[in-house]
């Protein structure tokens, strides 16, 4: 059975929207990170889906790079969260508000 591409696109759009929603509403830094992961993977789904549709391997290869990059980003993100926790005894992202002009 072949799933039509538009369903994948719908899935991806849904994942991305969930990610954006999480980013805008949550205050917990870990959830922030997860939302960002969701958005990244929404893009990955798109890449893989269109790659299959056109029978071209480039998109799938690219998604592997995105995965690797996402892993790196998570490492950095978790590092930041650790520092956040050490300084504020909390992982609330609205708490640190002094890093501006």
């Amino acid at each position: 059975m072949v799933v039509e591409t538009q369903y994948y696109v719908l899935l991806s759009a849904a994942m991305f929207s969930i990610g954006v929603f999480g980013l805008l509403t949550r205050r917990n830094a870990l959830r922030f990170l997860m939302s960002v992961e969701l958005m990244l993977n929404a893009a990955n789904v798109n890449l893989v889906a269109f790659s299959t549709q056109w029978g071209n391997i480039t998109g799938q290869t690219f998604s592997l790079f995105v995965l690797a990059l996402a892993a790196a980003e998570v490492a950095v993100g978790i590092g930041i969260i650790l520092v956040l926790f050490r300084s504020f005894r909390d992982v609330d992202v609205t708490e640190p508000a002094t890093m501006r002009w």
Binding site: V20, L23, T98, R100, W101
Partner: protein, 683 residues
């Protein structure tokens, strides 16, 4: 074959080496520097003197040298010009090189007595300055193009600043040094514009033809003779001036530099103040380096000036007026060096008078004799100043004749030369200057006026010279120091004796009246300048003066003018003898009444120049400053304050909360998508 010309560049480079040695060794290993740098300086200038002598001998065999040494900016081929250093050795420059090298050599020797023996500090700095000064002047003299000449002209000015301000811990010298620098810079500013104008007009700055390249005086001659010179006619077409007018403007611009450096009226005020420097430096400045540079520049480009009768008349007038004006101030001065300073201004006025009257040989002749007797007088004055423990007031001296005979007799020789008494050097040269001015002046009232002023100045010269000699050396000692003067050593006496003998004899190289009288062909200097590169020789200058400038010499025997000037000089000297001789001379200046105040204040030249600076230039500068601060800066500040203000408001968008940034990102994305959608017509 290795000839003298292969070593031409070494003439200025030797003193430069002594400068480098003095400054490096003086800084790092002062103990290794013999006599604080005097020995390297003496060796270097002695070497320069020998090489210059060799060059002189080579040039006397009618050889000349005009080569490019180093091109430091290459122009676009066919469109612009190269800027380069070059060496021009011809009768004029080799003659001048010998004078400069001789004087700086003797000044170095004399400095041993004046600086080292007097226990001055900072000697390496002093000798480095002397070395650089000699280097600059020698390089200026042999410059083959006007840009190089300008660069070394400026370097000479810088050295004078360094040396006049040598005793910079006292209040007077730094201020005098600044004044010398600024006043000559004022003239040099015009010179700089003149250099640019010459390059723009002619596309070359060469003084004399090199290969098939013509120098700018020759190009100017071609243009005035009506030949087609595309470069020049293009330029003249662009600025829309006639050739003669424009050439005269350029001549006047360069003349500005000359008037500043050679201390001619009205830019002479720096020179008397420059007496604040050490006396050997004064000798160097007045006799051979700084002040001579201005007059030498006119001689170097005389082929250019010889075509500009109006500029020549102005030069003669300025020269004659300066000669009289400065001599009248020298009449009343109390300090020995002040008298000499004003006499220098006056004597350079004579040279300008000669040049303006077309007497090229007379001017070069007077330049040489003056270099010798003025160096002698300054060094003699230096010897007196050592003896008097640095008191320069002539009224505190008196009776030094028997205590320092070497100084007295050499000083007397220089004074007789300065006053123009037969048969000392100054008589022959000053007589020739006045004779040239007279024979040309009979056809031109302006030059005749200049001649008349020069003639009156002879009387004044005789008077102030002998007033100085009598007050310093004759009569009875008026103070305790004068009764028991400090002795001087060989290093003071040696230069004095050399120069004293020269001051008495050097005039014999060009005895024009004797030639007329006896018919013997003994005007060697005339013959000297007839040789060389044809376009820059006496014959060509005469041709230009007569054909282009319309100068014609009246036919007059030289005896009567000579007798007249000698008579006036003797009259002045005799007057000084009557007024000031005797054991206890009294001041007679009070008899001058209100003129005395005028003369003591140097005709208020400083005052009016200060007024020009403070009363005229300052308000203009203030208005300009207001305009700059208020309007120009105001506009710039207003624009930047808009950015500052809006920045301070807009930055409030940055809250520091990550959620807000995320919201803005999302909002921005939505807005972009909406805009793209609307513009793209998706709906």
């Amino acid at each position: 074959m290795v000839g003298a010309f292969d070593f031409a560049a070494a003439v200025p480079l030797l003193p430069f080496a002594s400068f480098v040695v003095a400054i490096l060794a003086g800084y790092f290993t002062p103990r290794l520097l013999p006599k604080g740098g005097a020995i390297p300086g003496i060796i270097a200038t002695g070497g320069s003197l020998l090489l210059s002598g060799w060059l002189l001998v080579t040039v006397s065999g009618t050889a000349t040298f005009n080569e490019e040494i180093y091109t430091w900016t290459t122009g676009m081929a066919g469109e612009t010009f190269d800027l380069s250093f070059g060496i021009l050795i011809d009768p004029l420059s080799s003659y001048m090189l010998v004078i400069v090298a001789l004087i700086s050599f003797l000044v170095h020797v004399f400095s041993l007595g004046y600086m080292n023996d007097e226990g001055e500090t900072g000697l390496p700095r002093y000798y480095a300055g002397l070395g650089l000064f000699s280097f600059s002047m020698l390089a200026f003299v042999m410059a083959s193009n006007i840009l190089m000449a300008f660069m070394f002209f400026e370097l000479v000015g810088l050295c004078s600043w360094l040396l006049i301000g040598f005793w910079f811990r006292e209040p007077g010298p730094p201020s005098a040094a600044k004044k010398a620098f600024l006043v000559t810079r004022f003239g040099d500013y015009f010179f700089l514009i003149g250099v640019v104008a010459i390059f723009a007009t002619f596309g070359t700055g060469l003084f004399a033809p090199r290969g098939d390249e013509l120098g700018f005086p020759q190009l100017a001659a071609d243009v005035l003779a009506g030949e087609a010179v595309p470069v020049v006619s293009n330029f003249l077409g662009t600025i829309g001036l006639g050739a003669e007018t424009w050439f005269a403007i350029m001549g006047l611009l360069v003349l500005g530099g000359v008037i500043g450096k050679s201390a001619q009226f009205p830019l002479h005020t720096w020179l008397p103040d420059a007496m604040e420097g050490p006396t050997p430096v004064s000798a160097l400045i007045h006799a051979a380096t700084m002040v001579a540079a201005g007059v030498y520049l006119i001689m170097r480009m005389f082929g250019f000036y010889a075509q500009l009768p109006r500029v020549l008349a102005l030069i003669a007038l300025v020269g004659g007026f300066t000669a009289l004006f400065a001599a009248s101030i020298a009449l009343v001065k109390r300090e020995i060096k002040q008298v000499l300073a004003y006499s220098t201004i006056s004597q350079y006025g004579y040279m300008m008078l000669a040049l303006g009257a077309g007497g090229y040989v007379a001017a070069t002749f007077h330049l040489m004799t003056h270099a010798i007797f003025k160096a002698l007088l300054f060094l003699g004055a230096g010897s007196v100043i050592i003896a008097m423990h640095h008191n320069e007031n002539m009224w505190d001296m008196g009776g030094l004749k028997d205590k320092m005979p070497v100084t007295y007799y050499t000083f007397l020789s220089g004074s007789l030369a300065l006053a123009g008494i037969f048969p000392f050097a100054g008589f022959w040269s000053k007589d020739e200057v006045l004779y040239e001015a007279l024979i040309h002046g009979l056809n031109d009232p302006i030059i005749l006026l200049a001649y008349a002023m020069g003639l009156v100045a002879v009387l004044f010269t005789g008077f102030y010279t002998f007033r100085m000699v009598i007050l310093t050396f004759h009569g009875e000692a008026r103070t305790e120091t004068a009764e028991d003067p400090h002795g001087v050593r060989w290093n003071v006496k040696f230069p004095l004796v050399v120069l004293g003998i020269l001051a008495a004899t050097v005039g014999f190289v060009n005895m024009a009246p004797v030639k007329e009288l006896t018919g013997m062909d003994i005007t060697y200097l005339h013959h000297w300048f007839e040789n060389g590169i044809h376009e820059v020789t006496l014959g060509e200058y005469h041709h230009l003066l007569e054909e282009v400038a319309g100068y014609h010499a009246a036919d007059l025997a030289p005896f009567l003018p000579a007798a007249l000037s000698l008579g006036l000089a003797l009259l002045g000297a005799g007057l000084a003898w009557i007024l000031y001789s005797g054991p206890e001379p009294t001041a007679h200046t009070d008899k001058l009444g209100s003129i005395k105040t005028l003369l003591y204040n140097n005709y208020y030249q400083d005052e009016y120049q200060v007024w020009l600076a403070e009363g005229v230039t300052m308000p203009i500068a203030r208005v300009a400053d207001k305009f700059d601060q208020g309007i120009i800066d105001g506009v710039v500040n207003a624009i930047s304050s808009i950015a500052l203000f809006s920045g301070s408001r807009i930055r409030r968008l940055q809250t520091g909360r990550v959620t807000n940034y995320a919201a803005m990102l999302t909002l921005g994305l939505v807005v972009i998508v909406l805009v793209v959608a609307l513009v793209g017509g998706w709906f």
